[in-house]
């Protein structure tokens, strides 16, 4: 996740994310990430700070 924050464009290319997927990550839109098919455990893992507050 730190890599995504540091260089979203590089991560978008590396993981072949489309613009919508990259945008959902950038906006931390967890619901949209789920709708786009992200594994929910990975959403939970990547955005742990949001859940543990």
């Amino acid at each position: 996740m730190q890599q995504f924050v540091a260089d979203l464009e590089a991560m978008r290319v590396r993981y072949e994310l489309n613009a919508e997927e990259a945008d959902a990550i950038a906006r931390a839109d967890l619901g949209r990430l789920y709708e786009l098919g992200a594994n929910p455990y990975l959403i939970r893992f990547a955005f742990r700070d949001r859940y543990d507050r």
């Binding site: 967890l30 789920y34 594994n39 929910p40 455990y41 939970r44 893992f45 859940y51």
Partner: protein, 298 residues
Amino acid sequence: VKPQFGIVMSHAPGISQFWEMMAPERREPLAAAYTQLGRELAEIRPDVIIAFVNDHFRSFSLAMFPAFCVGIGSDHDVPMSGGDAILRMPQRRFKGDPELAGHILESLMQDGFDPAFSGELKFFDDLSVPLRFLYPPHEGTPEVAIVPIMTNCVARPLPSMRRCHEFGIAVRRALDRFSGAPRRVVILGTGGISHWVGMPRSGDINEEFDHKVLELVGQGRAEEMLSWSDDEVEDQAGNGALELRNWIEAFAAMGQYVPRQLAYVPVIEAITGCAAIALDAVDVSGTGYRRLAEGAVR
């Protein structure tokens, strides 16, 4: 060797993370159940716990995620490094049992299962939370060895519930076949019941579903869960309920047992319906220390 006792219980990071700040009406029933189970383990003094648990993207990733994996390591750090701060518990190094784990692995392969194996599994809440409460850290690290067996409960497609049941039976058969030094064996299955992990409904608990599971288990009808589809379970009880696979395997590995529900609490702090159930073995011959409790025998 034959299992002499069993436990199925929920795991969730929040059970440990938020234990101290959990409302007393939720913490106390769980604490009583955990204390009771700890007392019974102290009485049995198991040499080894066969632990049916599941990875949460700590050991595996979408690059490689085995359906089943047997932990053959000579020791296990519980929790994994870094997990201690998140889960708010000290890391302890439990012994493994490579001889028994290796035998289980070979026996499973003989019976048509081809699990992965690893000596370097990373444990998060799946094993760490139950062990925190069954063997409290302030008492030090117990002598008991752990043989962890991981089942994929998080990255679809998952092995079917029926396959997991058959897998548990195969583990039981492996124990029957073991010809090494006798060991006192306890079976542990962790996970569930309802909770939504990283999903829009995160925070929900479906008590009705949880009670249905507990009723089936209590009535010796746990095998009815084998026909449940993953979509059905996830829809009703969240992706976290798919971890009931670990329970199914534990039941099958026990063989005959009497379930004894010690607690069920919908723990909002852990966003999970949390249960703790003892499984009293009924086919341990010659030991005589496990009384046959009243209840359903499957």
